[in-house]
Structures are given as structure tokens and as C-alpha cells.
């Protein structure tokens, strides 16, 4: 749910990067943080365990374009992907405006992807939302590795049915596909907030 500050003419949107453990959610945020000019970003807050798993969440505020006189700011969050942190994931999803589902392309992570997507659907539902009516995209990460599933099969498992969403191949550690993913989900959020007929300023 967007937070509008009329005094400051500022709208805050919340984007959550969701997906199985080690899929590359934090890598996305790190690249966004590196890739944006200083004036457009805050500090990247990251709480990671010693083995690079996200312990709580990563947070990165980034500012973007102005729409109808309101500056927009996107707050990017990740969740810990490991199954034991479901309460944290549920908490992070509160007030979410858009979701990037970061899938791991490796063959041996396919089941984890499917389980994580089901977990996402369930957690969103518990917040009274419906994933099918929310802005969300899928990012198939690690496309540079050798032992990966074909795109067609990833789409079959994670993005089929009547309500398909945009999907992207990515190599998050190199930045490939990172901004396309973020821009698309952000624009989908803006459309939902302002309507398709509104022009950005």
C-alpha cells in the first residue's frame, strides 16, 4: 500500500524481492545500489549471516520520477529465502505494492522455486491480498551458469495460467536484467496507483 505524504508531496511504494534462498535477491539490491547516482538512493541496509544468507531483510530506498507533482520513492526490500524465516517474510510483505519473484534457474532449485512461489501466494493471501491482482514480475536469475533449466520450463512452472506476468532473464551479480526488472515492476505499480492514462512528469 503506497504511503502518501501530502506535505512533502511524496509517495512511497514498497517493492519486495521474494524467492528461494540464494536465488539472488540481495544481489539485485546490491546492483541497484551500485548502479544509481548518489542523489537517487539511500543506504543499503543489509543483515546477513556469515554464509551470505539474508538474516532479516535488505532495505534500499530509491527515488524516482515525479508524477502529478508528487515525487515517488521506492523502498526495496528482500526477504530471507530459507524456509525457516517465514514469519519474517510475512512481516516484510506487509504493505507491499509490488513484488519481484527472483527464481533460481539451476535445475536442482526448481522445486525450491515452486515452493517459494506457493509460500508467497499464501503469505500475500494472509495479508488480504491476491497475487493475481498485484503488480509483480518474475526474474529468472543465474542465466550465466551452465546447469540451468530452459526458460520455457521455468515459465511453465512459475508463470503460466490465465494471469501471466512479465518475466526477465538476469545475471544479477553482473547487473544483467536488474534494472529492466525493477523498472517494469515500478511502472506496473505506477499504473495501478495513477492509472494508465496518467503521464509521468
Amino acid at each position: 500500500m503506497s504511503i502518501i505524504n501530502y506535505a512533502a508531496k511524496l509517495i512511497n511504494f514498497k517493492v519486495v524481492y521474494y524467492g528461494p534462498g540464494m536465488a539472488g535477491k540481495t544481489a539485485n539490491l546490491q546492483y541497484v545500489h551500485r548502479g544509481l547516482p548518489d542523489g537517487n538512493k539511500g543506504n543499503l541496509t543489509s543483515l546477513a549471516t556469515g554464509d551470505d544468507h539474508t538474516l532479516f531483510f535488505d532495505f534500499l530506498p530509491v527515488s524516482a520520477l515525479t508524477v502529478r507533482g508528487f515525487a515517488t520513492r521506492f523502498q526495496l526490500y528482500t526477504v530471507p529465502g530459507q524456509s525457516q524465516y517465514n514469519l519474517t517474510r510475512k512481516l516484510v510483505l506487509r504493505g507491499v505494492d509490488g513484488i519481484v519473484f527472483v527464481a533460481d534457474s539451476l535445475w536442482d532449485r526448481l522445486k525450491a522455486n515452486v515452493e517459494s512461489l506457493r509460500d508467497l501466494e499464501q503469505n500475500v493471501r494472509e495479508h488480504g491480498l491476491d497475487l493475481a491482482s498485484m503488480p509483480w514480475v518474475v526474474q529468472y536469475n543465474k542465466r550465466d551458469l551452465g546447469d540451468i533449466a530452459p526458460l520455457e520450463y521455468l515459465e511453465y512452472t512459475l508463470n503460466r495460467g490465465p494471469k501471466r506476468v512479465p518475466s526477465f532473464e538476469a545475471v544479477a551479480v553482473e547487473g544483467k536484467g536488474v534494472f529492466d526488472t525493477l523498472n517494469t515492476v515500478s511502472r506496473m505499480i505506477l499504473v495501478k496507483e495513477f492509472g494508465a492514462a496518467q503521464e509521468g512528469a
Binding site: 521506492f74 542465466r143 520450463y153 511453465y156 518475466s167 526477465f168 532473464e169 529492466d180 496518467q198
Partner: protein, 466 residues
């Protein structure tokens, strides 16, 4: 050879596990596919584990093996996952991209995202390999099966060593996601065999049904002086077998009863329509007493066995994996008496300069008993490698020669080998490429048939001077 390699070579279909499509498709959307041990158990040699089969089943109730998804997915038809249409969310073009990396053209790694539906891919994506056509052997990839005991086999370093086992999904019709829970049905028909003249009052039936259960009733079958109506029991048996076979691929079923022999013919797509019926009829003298006969030939592969009420014959493409049909028909083989063979004493001792060497090649570990025989009446030479009754094996091979090899079948083409499996013993009859009537007869452990075929091929190469 490593134990896992020996196990792979000893599978019913060497180095291959055949998994029914009906098991695979309902699970595809889960990102993983598991198969119950009971489904594939028959493809393993009896001594594959330290426990007898019943004890294994009792100890690991509901044991399921996880299949390697890369092996599974690349064997499915490409159109299974097709249909993804371009997704372009409505209205987003009204807003410019909110975020721009440092500068356009900055080489910090940003590349046009290769959206599945919005932009070209980053790199050549892995392509689906269509299911192996019948004439092509699928690429070998190690199988990883969990939980333990694993049957993974590392890639062999030697070209002579067997390839590691592969999971094979028979290239049958694959259901769409919405109908994925239904097993791929066999296309079942009950045509009037061309050799059977329909009765004057009965039109030749050729009903095509959607499921094995839809075989026509016995009343619809033709009748004539030599062609009888298949019994209800035979039809019921054919239905049951068709349903079993359908789990591994599409087969068309036909029943014919003639001269006192009922043939239930199951024909896979791409195989001459009547070859199963014709070869089943020719193999009938061989398949009594629980025997299961397999024929690998240039234009088709045949598996035949005598069921309770009919001779069952399945015809597949020449390089099709016959393990599934072999297992289904082998389990159904229990009817009739063992064939009475011609007097083995009529076989005269003979020689072959490379016979001992061939026996070594077949045994794989050292000298093995080997004898040569000749049947002067037929002009047939038989080179037998057998630790048991060599003369009896030669007599069986002579019957195989008479029934299946002496007169070539145009629809079948040149026969590579015939295997008669009865109980724990398998007799491989392999015609030699000498242009003369010569066969290698190799008697092997039927539980390690894949390995036996490989070794028989080596022995044949020795005899042929290759």
C-alpha cells in the same frame, strides 16, 4: 567396471530406466518428478540391492525416487511448454522507466533484460531437445536418483565401458497442463486383421476408441471358417495389457483369432500396422511356459509372450526402448506349455576357429564353456556360449531360426538379435553377418540382460572377425 556401471548395464534396457509419461506429466509443474520404486523395480536385476525384492518393498514402503529434471525435461516434446504468449502489462508505456543506471551505454553490466516475453534473451538459451526420434539414441547423461541407494553411475572413461544409466520418458503423447493428471491414453483400435475375412453379415470393424476399456465387444469381431471370434477373456486380457502399455507410450491394439491362436497385437506409432500380429503369430511356438521373446530388427522391435488367453505381441520402432513392453508382457507371460524342441541329438558337433575367444568376450572375465553345432538339414551353424546345457540352447536357437530368422519379414527387416527369456535364464540368438546361416547363441543371466547383450555383441564381433 564399477558396480554402478555394472548395474546400469544390467538394467532391462541397458543403461536406461524407462519411466511412463503418465507418471511424469502430472508432476511437471512441481519442478520435480518422483517415481515409485514399484513402477521401475522390474527393470532392475534381482540382485541390485542387498535385500530380496519383497524385503526391500517391506522396508521402504512408498519408496520414491527423484528423477533428474534435466533428463526428463529435455525428452519431452517442445510443445509441452509452448504457448507462452507475450506479456506486456497494460499502460506501463505511459510512464518512463523510473530508474536509469549511471548513464546510458555505461558498461557496468546492464544489458537489455532478456524478458521471456519482452526482450531477446541475454545469451543463447538452452534449447529443448525434442524427444529422441526412434532412430536416434538419446545422449547419455548420468542419472541421479535419491534417496539412497543411489544408482548414479559416473561417466565412463573408457569407450568400451557402458554409458551411465539414463532416465527415459517414452515419447508418447504428453498431456497439457490442464489434463496432466490423466495418463496418456493408448490409441486403441480393434481392426479386423487383413488376413481375416469378415463374416458375410458382419462389417469389418475398425473402431477407434479413446481408452483401452473401449475395445469392442467380442460380438463385433469377425468370424469365418479359419478366423474365430476372440473370446471375452482374451479381449479382457488385451484391455488390461493395453492399459498397462499405455502408461509407457501409445499403442494401437488389435485382436485376431485364427487357427486356434488368438493374437493380441499392440502396435506403436510408426510401425507397420500388422507386423505385431504377424510376428506374434510366428513367435507363438516359442512363447509357452512363461517365456518372453524380444526381437530387435531393422524396421521394428517386437516383444511377445503368451498370456492366459492370447499371445501378446507388442511392436515398436526399431530403436525404441523395449524395457517397458518387455516388463508388462513378461509379467503377463504365464500361459501354455514350454515349446517341445526338435531332437537336440540331430545337431552335430562343429568348430569355429574363434569360438574360445568369443566365449571369453562373452563371459567378460575369462574362459567360458562354448560349443559349436551344425544342423546339416538346414545348413545352420550354431556357436553356443553357455555354462549349462549347450545342446539344449542350440536346439532352442534352432527353433528361433525356424520361426523368426529363416524367412525374413519385409516389414521387420534384418534381425539384429532375438532373446528368449524364461525365468532367470535368457538365450540370446544373434545372427552373424557372414552371409551364411550362422548364429551366436549366448545363454545369460536373465536378470542382467543389458550386460548380456553388450557382451554378446562383443562375442559376435569376434566370430565375425571384426
Amino acid at each position: 567396471m564399477q558396480p554402478t556401471e555394472r548395474l546400469g548395464a544390467s538394467l532391462r534396457e541397458p543403461n536406461v530406466l524407462v519411466i511412463p509419461v503418465s507418471v511424469v506429466t502430472p508432476q511437471l509443474a512441481e519442478g520435480s518428478v518422483e517415481v515409485e520404486w514399484a513402477v521401475i523395480e522390474a527393470q532392475f536385476p534381482a540382485l541390485a540391492s542387498a535385500l530380496p525384492a519383497p524385503a526391500l518393498r517391506a522396508r521402504f514402503v512408498g519408496w520414491r525416487l527423484q528423477l533428474p529434471m534435466d533428463e526428463v525435461v529435455r525428452q519431452l516434446p517442445p510443445d509441452v511448454f509452448a504457448g507462452a504468449t507475450s506479456v506486456n502489462p497494460r499502460g506501463i508505456d505511459a510512464f518512463p522507466p523510473p530508474f536509469e543506471p549511471f548513464s546510458a551505454g555505461d558498461s557496468r553490466g546492464e544489458a537489455p533484460a532478456s524478458a521471456a516475453s519482452m526482450a531477446p534473451p541475454l545469451a543463447p538459451p538452452p534449447r529443448f531437445v525434442p524427444p529422441a526420434p526412434a532412430g536416434a539414441a538419446p545422449t547419455s547423461v548420468p542419472i541421479v536418483v535419491a534417496p539412497a541407494p543411489s544408482i548414479a553411475a559416473p561417466p565412463s572413461a573408457s569407450t568400451a565401458a557402458p554409458a551411465p544409466p539414463r532416465i527415459v520418458v517414452p515419447p508418447a503423447a504428453v498431456a497439457t497442463p490442464t489434463s496432466a493428471t490423466a495418463p496418456a491414453p493408448a490409441r486403441v483400435a480393434a481392426p479386423a486383421p487383413s488376413t481375416v475375412a469378415p463374416g458375410p453379415a458382419v462389417a469389418a470393424p475398425r473402431a477407434v476408441a479413446a481408452s483401452p476399456a473401449a475395445l469392442p465387444s467380442a460380438a463385433a469381431m469377425p468370424s469365418s471358417a479359419t478366423a474365430a471370434r476372440p473370446s471375452d477373456a482374451a479381449i479382457a486380457e488385451a484391455r488390461a495389457i493395453a492399459a498397462e502399455l499405455a502408461r509407457g507410450g501409445a499403442f494401437e491394439t488389435a485382436l485376431s483369432a485364427r487357427d486356434g491362436v488368438t493374437i493380441a497385437a499392440f502396435t506403436a506409432p510408426g510401425v507397420s500396422a500388422d507386423v505385431a500380429e504377424r510376428l506374434g503369430r510366428r513367435a507363438a511356438p516359442l512363447v509357452g511356459g512363461g517365456a518372453c521373446v524380444a526381437v530387435r530388427a531393422a524396421h521394428a522391435s517386437i516383444v511377445a509372450a503368451r498370456g492366459r488367453h492370447a499371445v501378446l505381441a507388442a511392436a515398436m520402432r526399431p530403436t525404441a526402448l523395449i524395457a517397458w513392453a518387455d516388463g508388462v508382457l513378461g509379467r503377463a507371460a504365464d500361459g501354455g506349455a514350454a515349446p517341445v524342441l526338435d531332437d537336440a541329438a540331430s545337431l552335430a558337433p562343429s568348430t569355429h576357429t574363434r569360438l574360445v575367444e568369443a566365449a571369453v568376450a562373452f563371459s567378460g572375465v575369462g574362459p567360458a564353456p562354448a560349443e559349436a553345432f551344425v544342423d546339416a538339414t538346414r545348413g545352420l551353424s550354431l556357436y553356443v556360449v553357455s555354462a549349462t546345457d549347450a545342446r539344449g540352447a542350440a536346439a532352442l536357437a534352432r527353433r528361433v531360426w525356424d520361426t523368426l530368422l529363416r524367412e525374413p519379414d519385409a516389414a521387420l527387416g534384418a534381425v539384429s538379435w532375438v532373446t528368449v527369456r524364461r525365468g532367470a535364464e535368457a538365450t540370446i540368438v544373434r545372427p552373424l553377418g557372414s552371409g551364411r546361416a550362422e548364429v551366436l547363441v549366448a545363454v545369460a543371466d536373465g536378470e542382467r540382460l543389458g550386460l548380456a547383450h553388450r557382451q554378446a555383441e562383443r562375442a559376435a564381433a569376434v566370430l565375425e572377425g571384426r
